[in-house]
Subunit: 651 residues, 2 copies
């Protein structure tokens, strides 16, 4: 039943030799890797407006300056990453750059940051996608969290199926989204130029300021906080640096060009959308009830997203074809952006597992050759986050970009070191000048992103980012501990030159509770092993039963001696462990083989009907030195072997 | 940590030979067995008044008649059970009577009824006890459910500790309760006789009738429903019949006398309390908001119980010493009544488990010689019920007496058969007359209780009793299925006269994933077993790793051939099962010994770090015929053996 359900969701298993890369031309690589960075255009402007509105509508005059700072940063980071893809074409991205240049610890910090970030990409993108769906169909508002979980589930199922051939499927919505947003921006600007500037539905609403009458420093802080929120526009820029191996040759050059195209598109779309939103006087607030003029029940209703309001204003209302087109492509590209994290997280997990920083299971490929465990882990954590934050983009976004900028900063710093190393070896003047220029770009990138990191930390810490500040070091410590454990085990298991010694003698012990066929079979199997000594052992938890067993044993003439162990406290494990220990007393090279007759039942509830104490006994026996534990199964006829069946023990 | 907590709650284990009965004199037996039936006095009157008030205060005139019917029934049932304890002194009670005389099925029905009933005794008694505590300290009302759960937990802990010597502890509160209630009744009647009749706090409150203007049949139905609720006074009457072996000799006679004393006390107290409640004009309603005159917030507040109102009226207000005395002893005896179910349920469970109608675990004695699993099961179910019904006595009581009267009816019917059988053998006229009389008593008991059963079923079905009507047959079916399973297994496991055949040859297979010490040790152990063939087997889930293993195998010169199994779908279990099957092809008498090297880790989280696929493999291997599965543990040095440690497998 469960197996059938799994086949339905996941599909039939694929052979290992089906594993292979298809290389991507630039026109497909752009949409695949750019859905994440471009999609953030859909919420970056909104987050700036939301923060500034906290001070009241008057502070919206800061918007162009904040947006300008974001676009400059976007340009710097894009330029920096163009150098990363040229220098590290293997696809390791920020993790590789930091590990190679700054050492294992910095690499682990980046890994922790990236893992957190992938989770947040899923949570924020899906939440923003649902937000835009609700903007188009407000009646869905009560099902916000359920819709979020549904999309996460669908993405999980798709990725468990290993939908690798999704390239083309990605390309269409991404291009449609780009076309839609650019058309909207151009139309909006054109209308404004013609004197019929678009007017948002919220243009007439006023906002109740949360922090009224700000002065000097407070205004700066508000602007910084708005900037920190706007920096979400930068998320996903590094995606291409992880995907260089998927490009056609010349890989690095093609990747760098795609990166440039992506940067230009992102800047244009973000700046354009912000401009039209300002022209149309879109007003938003964290809480709809702070908007005077908001129609209907502000506690139950939801505001339209900024992109939805702009689309409605430009294309003639929230029922126009243009509006629906923009909303549909926006929702779609946001969901696709979440999908990029479903590619990235399991891959990074598998790399970390291979380097033994994470459990090995993350490195095993599932039935469809995807890293299924990583996919499931990502879905679970992202789903839990969405559920905990009730699918609110504004609240989730507070946790988002801390990880992004941690990895930006460390990887750019790593690049500076990389160029320094090359500079030490390079003597040619022209080459040195090129290296100096490259170092300057990455140095500027590192400085900018570090500054942003500080701003983000300072302005968002109390709004939820502290969770990330806790989570990242925990992840780091966990990964270090796991690596230490694996290293220790690996050293311990290394074979010694002389090999393992053969046991001097083998003592066989057959555990018997009643004189039934499973016990007799275990005795027969034990005799077939030709041990040096062979004893049947029973624990007298009930003296009457033990006596009855002894009588039957003699009556039947079983050709093996039966030892009866006293157990005044009705404990089975203790006396047997004691007996096994005594067998080896003074003979440390002897081994003890403990035979346990087990019933194998067909139905899960039948387990409950047979004594489970042997399970514990078995676990404890495995802690004894020089012991082997032998299960001799007896298949009860109650049912043939089902898929999920298991064994229970009949001591 | 968990072990330490267990010791703290349960105490240190007791030796089996500490098991022994202490025989009870009548003066201790009465309070021990009578706490349950006498305690129901505390709520029986109240339930009658509550039901009648549904029709309006006018219908309270029916109370004396309903109470009279209940006392008559109480007398009949007491007389019937006096005959049971004489005829069946072994303490099997209703279950034994029904099984012996009406057959196994009737016995199982009684067992199901009694199990349900014990659960309800705990739920109702604890809830009623808490009700009376809240009557004395109304401020505790918001913590009603928590208090209920707390008392269930305390009772559970006490019984897990095996507090057998509680006889004396039981005697004092029961006698104090009897004294308190009798004194209250006498004082109330005396005050009334002297013309200063007590007046309850609710005497002036009017009740909003739920069913106003009842006529003919409807009035009869109301009376019947009140009677059905009043029959809760009969619960626990059978307790003495389960405890005969605990009496001093002459056991039956002493039990019968104690039963008579208990019956007289119960009738006196119930009738007296009802009379004084009527005199004092106690008015109650299911919902306090139906009472006009109820002080304070009727949604948040709670009415005082009838016994509390009577005590307050008789002894001079809800702050008098007499009031607190009655409330304290009432609460205490109700909790003690719940405790009798904690004795009865696990004992019945153990008897049923011994007769293989319930899982064996219910027959194992815990550290303190109590049937711990039964105690825990009872506590869980009763706790869940209390939680689901929010600790409301009135709602819980709807589920209560269906089981009681089912077992009453069947045991009395069984007794009639019992006397019929004796009559067939008896020729002496005098003896025959005695038997005829005895049969008449039990016949009358059977008819009365059957009639009440019908009334209860009819009047309470829709008020919650349907749950019991569902639960009892389910329990019956479950117990039959369990017995069938055990019987089938037992027949299957019966040794055959010629014994089990020795395997013709033994093929040893050692599962290897890497060339490390655990694998080498498993090889050494396998060689010590001197099998007819010995092969190391690895599954090539990753072709590269398999090749590396082969190279190391040759380099090291391991003296055992290594078989590499292809696994295009990266599945470990399938290829190994296939290999094992092929080994025995054409040689069904051969056996296969599969050696699995296992890591034993010390910390729970370390499990996650080692591949768990071998667990599944092991479970599947146990379904193969003629296979034994041998765990060869390798204890990692990471930590010494902790209490809860377990093994993980390293294939």
């Amino acid at each position: 039943m469960i197996a059938w359900l799994k086949r339905l969701v996941v599909g039939r298993p694929l052979r290992t030799d089906r594993l292979g890369e298809t290389l991507l031309p630039k026109r497909l690589a752009l949409p695949i890797f750019a859905s994440d960075p471009l999609s953030s255009v859909a919420y970056a402007t909104q987050e700036i407006l939301l923060v500034l509105a906290l001070g009241g509508l008057a502070y919206l005059y800061l918007t162009p300056w904040v947006a300008l700072a974001v676009t400059v940063l976007l340009a710097v980071v894009t330029l920096s990453y163009r150098q990363v893809v040229r220098a590290y074409p293997s696809g390791g991205g920020s993790y590789e750059v930091a590990s190679r240049n700054l050492g294992r610890r910095a690499g682990l910090v980046v890994a922790a940051a990236l893992l957190v970030d992938y989770v947040m990409t899923v949570a924020v993108s899906v939440a923003a996608g649902v937000d835009n769906i609700i903007s188009a169909v407000p009646a869905l508002n009560p099902y916000r969290v359920a819709l979020n979980i549904l999309f996460v589930a669908v993405l999980t199922a798709m990725n468990l199926r290993g939908v690798r051939e999704s390239g083309r499927a990605f390309a269409v919505p991404t291009y449609l989204f780009i076309a839609g947003v650019l058309a909207m921006v151009l139309a909006g600007l054109a209308e404004a130029a013609l004197g019929r500037a678009p007017v948002a539905e919220s243009a007439g609403w006023s906002v109740a300021a949360q922090h009224a009458g700000l002065t000097g420093l407070a205004v700066l802080l508000l602007a910084l906080r708005a900037f920190a929120s706007g920096c979400t526009a930068l998320t996903g820029v590094e995606a291409i640096s992880n995907g260089v191996p998927a490009f056609r040759a010349p890989k690095s050059e093609n990747a760098a060009r795609t990166l440039a195209a992506m940067g230009i598109l992102a800047i244009t779309m973000f700046a354009g959308l912000t401009a039209v939103a300002l022209i149309a006087r879109v007003h938003v607030a964290e809480n709809p009830c702070d908007l005077s003029g908001f129609p209907g029940d502000c506690a139950a209703g939801a505001q339209r997203t900024v992109i939805a309001q702009v689309a409605a204003a430009v294309f003639g209302g929230p029922h126009s074809v243009g509006f629906y087109f923009v909303q549909a492509t926006t929702a779609l590209i946001l969901i696709l952006a979440a999908n990029t994290a479903f590619n990235g997280f399991p891959l990074l997990g598998a790399i970390l597992a291979e380097e033994r920083f994470l459990p090995r299971q993350l490195h095993t490929r599932g039935d469809r050759l995807a890293y299924s465990n990583g996919i499931l882990l990502l879905a679970l954590i992202a789903g839990a986050l969405i559920w905990a934050f009730e699918g609110s983009v504004t609240r989730l976004i507070q946790l988002y970009i801390l990880g992004v900028f941690t990895s930006f900063t460390l990887s750019q710093a790593g690049m500076v070191r990389h160029w320094n190393r090359l500079l030490r070896a390079e003597r040619d003047r022209l080459a040195r000048r090129r290296l100096h220029r490259a170092r300057a770009v990455n140095g500027a990138g590192a400085l900018c992103t570090a500054a942003v990191l500080v701003v983000v930390l300072a302005t968002k810490f109390t709004h939820g980012a502290y969770l990330v500040v806790i989570a990242m070091p925990l992840l780091y410590l966990m990964m270090s501990a796991i690596r230490r454990h694996y290293d220790r085990v690996s050293a311990e298991l290394e074979p010694e030159p002389h090999g393992e010694v053969l046991p001097a003698r083998v003592h066989a012990v057959v555990l018997v509770s009643r004189l039934h066929r499973p016990a007799l079979r275990a005795l027969a199997f034990a005799r077939a092993g030709r041990p040096d000594t062979l004893t049947a052992v029973t624990v007298a938890t009930s003296p009457d039963e033990a006596r009855a067993l002894q009588v039957r044993w003699v009556e039947r003439g079983v050709p093996v001696p039966l030892a009866v162990l006293d157990s005044p406290y009705r404990d089975i494990t203790g006396p047997i462990l004691q007996y096994v220990r005594e067998l080896r007393d003074g003979a440390p090279r002897d081994a003890v083989a403990v035979y346990i007759p087990e019933y194998v039942v067909g139905r899960w509830w039948e387990h409950l009907l047979h004594n489970q104490s042997a399970l514990r006994l078995k676990a404890r026996l495995l802690f004894q030195p020089q012991v082997m534990v032998i299960s001799v199964p007896w298949q009860l006829h109650s049912r043939p072997e089902p898929a999920g069946a298991a064994a229970t023990m009949g001591v």
